[in-house]
Symmetry: C2
């Protein structure tokens, strides 16, 4: 049994009010698999890179016990590259460069050893590639989580709607939930989206936390107020990875476990933004994670006597 994470594995160059980086390793699958590895030991990655991706970079995955058999390395080609600059409020950013490179004709390969997949995280990619991965798995996983973004709603809405029919959990932000549903109220948006395929909807609200919708139930998770957000890149992917990694560890999918999974995902994401790129989340101790989760408990607990 394993957890497969598919998504971009890439180089990013990031500029924030606090500084800038050269090309550093990034990508949705990178953040998500690292985050998941803190909770679950059988994480397997699916993605594609060029030969500019070095052994050191692959070793980072291996060190975290992440299986990279499904990570294709294209000789003579270059990895996906993204460069962006965050504004002072850290909530908005400009994309400076997007070079698809190997991603332009990415055809995901599912190694035979990955066919034991029980948990599947479909990181942000074209809905068609996400759908292909589901179809190439001989058995339908116990849980399929899909992350997407407004870009695919703009250019590939039909594909996205087809793919959504195949998934259990959708993670998007509030603006994307409004775009997908055509409803401003997140309650109304969630009701519509829960008829599109997913049984669970997670709306990520960044510094305002996250909402989980399922049937007629809602869970509101807080975000940890931080003195400084150093670099928000990858926070959403880290959240998703921590979320599904925790669920894979627990092994039972239900609303209560999802609530906890959101807290664990949020805790990992709160580390992610403290340093550039993956710098913080490659080196966390169990104790650090446990303490951070306890901060979330303290942050949101109250005791009202009925």
């Amino acid at each position: 049994m394993s957890l497969i994470i598919i998504g971009t594995v890439a180089f990013d160059a990031i500029e924030t009010p606090f500084g800038k980086t050269d090309k550093i390793v990034g990508g949705a699958a990178t953040y998500a698999s690292l985050a998941a590895s803190y909770f679950y030991k059988k994480v397997k990655i699916v993605g594609v890179v060029g030969d500019d991706f070095h052994q050191d970079d692959i070793d980072t995955f291996t060190t975290h016990g992440i299986d990279t058999e499904g990570l294709q390395i294209k000789e003579g080609e270059k990895s996906f590259f993204w460069s962006g600059k965050y504004h002072n409020d850290m909530n908005s950013r400009d994309t400076l460069v997007t070079e698809l490179n190997v991603l332009a004709d990415f055809d995901p390969i599912i190694p035979e050893s990955y066919q034991d997949c029980e948990y599947l995280m479909l990181g942000n990619l074209t809905p068609q590639i996400q759908q292909t991965v589901i179809k190439r798995l001989k058995n339908r996983p116990k849980l399929v989580v899909l992350d997407t973004m407004n870009f695919w709603m703009d250019v590939a809405m039909d594909d996205l709607l087809e793919t959504l029919k195949l998934v259990d959990v959708l993670t998007i932000n509030d603006e994307e939930a409004r775009q997908l549903s055509g409803e401003y109220s997140l309650v109304k948006a969630s009701k519509k989206i829960l008829t599109m395929g997913p049984k669970y909807l997670i709306i990520k609200k960044g510094e305002h936390g996250a909402l989980l919708f399922h049937e007629d139930k809602i869970f509101s998770a807080p975000a940890l107020p931080l003195a400084e957000v150093f670099d928000p890149t990858g926070a959403g992917d880290t959240f998703a990875g921590g979320f599904i990694g925790y669920l894979a560890k627990v092994g039972t999918v239900n609303f209560n476990n999802m609530k906890n999974a959101i807290i664990f995902g949020s805790a990992l994401a709160s580390f992610c933004v403290e340093k550039f790129g993956t710098e913080k989340i490659v080196n966390l101790s169990e104790d650090e994670v446990a303490k951070r989760v306890q901060q979330f408990v303290n942050l949101s607990s109250f005791a009202i006597e009925a």
Copy 2:
């Protein structure tokens, strides 16, 4: 022992995407005192109206057990009038009309029977009037809560800073916290503001809930996701009134009680926005309030085993 609430008592004309009203009773002290009356029986109001304010309107307070001896009625003058139109997102609005009328030279009178004040809510008014009320009380109340807004930071910052030195709790929204402190991060903003006088800072984030800061502790309260926000007018005042009313009822001021008070205040505010003006909050049953509070408990509770 009593809870005094000072603030505007006014007429509002409101337009939202759902409809519009003629002149209806509004004002910070109206919303706050009605909300507080659900928890505490000795609520006393301080404010000023013109002779266009009718006995019926005063009866609404009396019916809720609210003492109106401190509500001055100026013969031959008109009550404060505000008219506003909300945009489709309900988060922003245009002020169409502001007629100060009796408010222009408001000099708050504290009746002798109000001198037993133990809890004081200073609703949004000029910082100078807020300060005057504190000084006209012979004994310093056990708890002074102040609500203010960006307008006073723009035109009366020095007065506001003087007044802040005299209060225990400040309630403002996130943008106001940033303006008051000059810090974008709410954590940094709170640290600065907690050196200005208040020992507790509540940052209201509307649909994203509220944050309570005290010493090195933070509490994050959720907002109830609503299918429809009908009219947000008075929600912040209703929150503040429910908050201080609950604390007055409990009688002990500490961080844990403040957390609960924020939940009760949020519950009342969630009713407020369901109808125009005070329509919903003039007619709540104990059972409705208890059920709404339970919804907040369900919304934010999770159980993580360490």
